[in-house]
Symmetry: C2
Subunit: 145 residues, 2 copies
DNA sequence: CCAATAAAGGACATTTTTGTCCTATTTATT
DNA sequence: AATAAATAGGACAAAAATGTCCTTTATTGG
């Protein structure tokens, strides 16, 4: 609707990793894909991206998996995940696809989009994985279905 | 960023048709594609969709083309174009791609998305082609580049 | 050291979106 | 009636996004 499928899986995966990390549990790709109801191999690719972008931490070998430490959960905001996967489309792009749309040379929707985008941007930049994981932990929110 | 490419072209095309219709000019696919800087044949398909959805009016044969009458420009809102081309994804879909995300069983971002989507929805439902075309006419906004 | 386990990564397959080309249909003009 | 101009529509092509499979690399525990 707004993010790519890859980004949707990425956010859900990161939130699940955060949730389990609250209990000190490291989680595997298989478990993540199972718990967020996503295709395993594709999810593995996305987790690689997130790991390369330092959004989550990965450990190879037996007992390995993905994790986040408590401080990272606070510092990692949704905007970092979206940026790592979808790039800066949401921030930069014109709603009507113009290359050089800006306040000087705006598309007909420019001003109307500015407000909506600002709200979205603020939301993404102010929402941490910790915040999302705790909602899940308490059973208020869900990651599947 | 938010709409498909097809929808971006569709909105730009419809606004251009409205603009020219203000002067009583009927416009061809070729002229539209030229003026909004879009691929001709693809634009033709999109105009077909808009015509079938009664968003714009088409006339075949010599002197034919696309047009809108003054009353239609007021009644046609952006939401109708978006709906005709992209369906109701923007209205219905969960931000994280869950099938059954709602107030009872929300995804972690549900509440945060509700506000943003409501604003987007209101904007689309309250913006008419007439409003957008007049901005263009006065030279305040642009449809290319 | 060896075996097993888990992520990393490359190559490939499928699906969707975007885009093109050609023919058919409609209609105004002569 | 013939011609030409315009949209309608079907079939195809290319590109991007999504998704799978298999091999390599790192690491743990026996």
């Amino acid at each position: 609707m707004m993010f790519s499928k890859a980004c949707e899986y990425g956010i859900r995966a990161a939130v699940y990793v955060a949730l389990q990390s609250l209990d000190g549990r490291r989680v595997s790709v298989n478990e993540i894909a199972e718990e967020i109801d996503s295709p395993i191999a594709f999810t593995a690719k996305i987790l690689q991206q997130l790991s390369r972008s330092k959004v989550i931490h990965s450990v190879k070998g037996p007992t390995g998996g993905f994790e986040l430490d408590r401080t990272e959960m606070d510092t990692v905001k949704l905007s970092m995940i979206v940026h790592a996967i979808d790039g800066d489309d949401i921030y930069v792009g014109c709603g009507l696809g113009l290359k050089e749309c800006n306040a000087n040379q705006p598309c007909p929707l420019h001003d109307k989009f500015v407000d909506i985008r600002t709200d979205l941007k603020n939301m993404l930049e102010n929402t941490s994985l910790y915040e999302l994981a705790t909602g899940l932990e308490v059973g208020l929110t869900y990651l599947k279905r």
